[in-house]
Symmetry: C2
């Protein structure tokens, strides 16, 4: 039997487009001699459909789409994903299902047993978990069909009472199939490969896994679908961050030579390169799937907006990106020259609009109320918000989506202005620490200067008061980022971070800044997720809380 | 045995404060001769603790708090709620537990079996559901201890495979106890009373239910804890929207006279009155629990900001509320006079700051780019954003929390400006349709004019261009609200709404406006939830989606 993996970039809610995408892949696979094509999880709906799943009309349309795809399955079989109604009268109204289609009909339905409900996932909100699992015979093979998380109850951690493939093994399947929507984080692909390989090895079966590719708002799917031989050996891995389809001869996979070649977590450079690819895909898909084409970026002369502009240009093309410089009362000359140099290098439209008159009129309007107070953060925020109003004025007038340029370090500690530099329709770097922003900028410049080196080398500054530097208000970024990483990504508490060598007062100060800015991040634009713990999707902190437990230094 | 219900207003994460609140209730109950005191769900942690539950330090502190409360339990018993670690090595790391405490120790632990994961709830994210349930003997009674949702798998709908009290009945308990955190919606209390009564009746047992009271950011808990006799009769109901403790003689409850007195869903006036009480509590608690005391309201002369100001004054006192009038180029004279009349009536500080100079400087700054374009929504947004920058300038400078004044109707269809009138730290009316804003305003004025009648009677207008009226851009609010209610609260699809008598083109237009403004609401402040389907907490729509299924008119 010849098995194809169709690694597609699907669109949530766009059932018509998804159906025609599936159909054209089927035609292509048939031409290449495939007997069976494996598609990603929830193929018809797109992933994650969120509360669209609560609409009966949406479920009806998914069912209709299923019928359309089934009708195309002649001389070929497909395994596609979609929601199906739970008719048992008990439990959640839907299953997250895989459908085996051939001879023009739905031949078998396999429901997902393990529903991830943690971090970015909330499948228990919609789906009932299946407890019965059956294999299906097709063309002399016995298929064990599983959906994503069904293969993840393996190894030391045992999050679920049930392990679906264990149940399936009772029927002695000959091949393990998995349809999935497993999102990107810079460290996730090697982990996914280990889990899949461990399944192939444990059950001594060839394993084919089709993973979703593409950006879906904040969630980025890398694809990197994979095929394993029955001793867990990697037979093939599809590319990351783009669609692809490949056809495999099952008997060759079964007898492929043993190897130990599982990918390891790579170094910083590879992390930065993968993150860049993910962000470019995320920006491109957000525009394409929302029907927009043109982006606006406020270019400050600093590094965050420079990197955002480079990513936007790669994603959308220089003709679709508009850079706007907004010098204010404390902008330095090099900010303007650095920003202009980059815009010219990239060949994007760039305009310069001074905010001085606006800031002056704001200060005049507030003069009576502000009288007798000392100039401080409120005055700095006026400048940030003046820029936001100008940028949004261009965005609204000319239908350009404004890209947010905040990085994760400043967003984490609230070194941002709500409705000021926090504005925009999509946050490009909100899940990238400042240290990694530097790394990515250097990587981009490795084959020749794109971002002016001066932008990279000068001390970071918000330029909201004379001679201001980020380091006046914040610890040095390397120190800050290490504490943030331990607190956010690694989930360490204050005591552990101190015991690992950081200053107690500093650790408390950083964690307190994170806690006290939760209310700002609540109003943040969606953030492209590239790390294992994003400050947007996948993190749900209370706002009206006491943070006493997070700030106390607990003993080991 | 004498059973007390302590209906407390707890604070998420504030374990120290919650422990001392519990202890003082225990002392009070002891003085009143109680043998056992029932507290709300997750008493120690506050509800909902959200991702604080992922912090080991937080769980440690809850355990420590549990020990402190247990140590206070001499000559009295308590049933309190808190997280407990799942030590089985399988499943989610925590249980949502009820602890029976007496003689200075934890005597029994009962884990929640049914974990709500729908609408505003996501308990499967944190907790493992229990499958074993045991009664506990205390003072000659056999207690069936349950946690909130454990009693909700009753009646026609069967969301769960298991019904915990069915299991508990095997041990022949003599009383049913329930600790809960069941939030307010204007229609929810009668439903909750029906469910609890049905349990008492089904199991022929007296039932005591302690419900949380107080605001917790967007979720508002009404309390209204209740006691039922063994034929389902209501014996007592505690007040809504405030703390209380009452002590009951179990034998009197057991033998209380039969009655059929379950509360019915009441009329519109009662809905408005309860919603007002809920909003006042929500505003008051948000300020108190975040350590703030002073509020800022932008007062336009329109009805939404007027009602917001009245609620703020009721919640915080006139000395803590600051009204700011921001007349612009198209503000009418009556807007200013109506706004001033209200501010004077309430006796709150009020300032007037014209935005004309700011708008002019914004238009000047954008003149080169705007040249040759027709004036439109972008220009209107400049005015809304100029107001936001001034309000936030006062908020930041003087540490006043800005209250958002948008109503649910305009938020639903996106008749709002992002970073403009959408600004603020808390949305007071974001879950109240404009029709209900009118109703609540009339209710407030029923005992004498507070809100100028002219504010209520004049046609609503954003006053962002000459002679503008909301009805230029939107259907009449009564029509709009009816379509929105069917679509959002009732979950009807477009076809059903049309079949119930609305114009097809209008229904499609309204639903499309809702869909196309999802990206704006993503950046909305938290919204005080008062309806069964809020546009904030409890609703998770995708942004980067096709809405084709929601817009298609499906046949019946």
């Amino acid at each position: 039997m010849r098995v194809a993996i169709a690694q597609l970039n699907l669109h949530v809610g766009n059932i018509d487009a998804n159906v025609s995408r599936i159909r054209s892949s089927l035609g292509q696979a048939k031409n290449q001699g495939a007997d069976l094509v494996l598609f990603p999880e929830l193929t018809l709906a797109g992933y994650p459909p969120r509360d669209l799943l609560l609409s009966q009309a949406f479920i009806d349309d998914c069912q209709r789409g299923l019928g359309q795809v089934a009708a195309s399955c002649h001389d070929i079989a497909a395994i596609i994903g979609g929601p199906s109604r739970n008719e048992t009268g008990q439990g959640k109204p839907l299953f997250n299902s895989a459908f085996l289609l051939y001879d023009g009909k739905v031949q078998a339905v396999c429901h997902k047993g393990l529903l991830p409900t943690y971090d970015v996932f909330n499948e228990d909100r919609y789906f009932q978990s299946a407890t019965d699992f059956s294999t299906v015979d097709y063309k002399g093979e016995r298929l064990a069909i599983t959906v994503c998380e069904d293969l993840w109850n393996i190894g030391k951690e045992s999050l679920y009472a049930l392990t679906p493939p264990d149940v399936l093994m009772k029927s002695r399947p000959t091949v393990l199939l998995n349809i999935s929507a497993s999102p990107f984080a810079w460290n996730h692909m090697p982990q996914r490969m280990r889990v899949l390989s461990a399944n192939a090895k444990k059950y001594r079966l060839p394993l084919f896994s089709a993973n979703l590719v593409g950006g879906q708002t904040d969630l980025l799917f890398d694809g990197a679908s994979a095929v394993f031989g029955p001793s867990g050996q990697v037979v093939d891995r599809l590319p990351a961050f783009r669609e692809d389809m490949r056809v495999y001869d099952l008997s060759s996979v079964r007898s492929s030579p043993h190897n130990e070649g599982l990918p390891e977590l790579e170094g910083k450079e590879q992390q930065w390169a993968a993150t860049l690819d993910a962000l470019v895909m995320g920006v491109r898909d957000y525009f394409r799937k929302t029907g927009l084409s043109k982006a606006l970026v406020g270019l400050s002369g600093g590094l965050d907006s420079a990197l955002t502009l480079v990513i936007a240009e790669k994603a959308l093309g220089k003709e679709n990106v508009w850079a706007v410089l907004l010098p204010g009362p404390y902008s330095s000359e090099h900010s303007v020259t650095d920003a202009l140099a980059l815009a010219r290098k990239l060949g994007v439209r760039h305009d310069t609009i001074s905010i001085n008159g606006i800031v002056e009129s704001l200060e005049n309007s507030l003069a009576a109320q502000y009288a007798g107070t000392e100039s401080g953060i409120a005055e700095e925020n006026l400048q940030a918000r003046a820029r936001a109003v100008v940028l949004m004025g261009l965005s609204n007038k000319f239908n350009h989506l404004l890209l947010n340029t905040s990085n994760k370090s400043e967003a984490a500690v609230g070194y941002t202005t709500l409705y000021g530099d926090m504005c925009g329709g999509l946050s490009v770097l909100g899940d990238v620490y400042k240290s990694d922003v530097y790394g990515m900028a250097r990587l981009i410049n490795a084959i020749g200067e794109v971002i002016p080196w001066h932008t990279i080398s000068k001390p970071p500054s918000a330029e909201l008061k004379p001679n201001q530097k980020d380091s006046d208000s914040l610890p040095e970024y390397q120190l800050l980022d290490d504490i943030l990483y331990q607190f956010l990504e690694e989930g360490k508490d204050a005591g552990e971070i101190v015991r690992r060598g950081h200053d107690e007062a500093l650790v408390k100060r950083v964690i307190e800044m994170v806690c006290l800015s939760e209310h700002k991040r609540f109003q943040s634009p969606p953030i492209l997720r590239t790390s294992p713990k994003c400050l947007g999707v996948g993190r749900e902190m209370p706002l009206e809380a006491s943070w006493q437990s997070l700030l106390r230094i607990h003993n080991a």
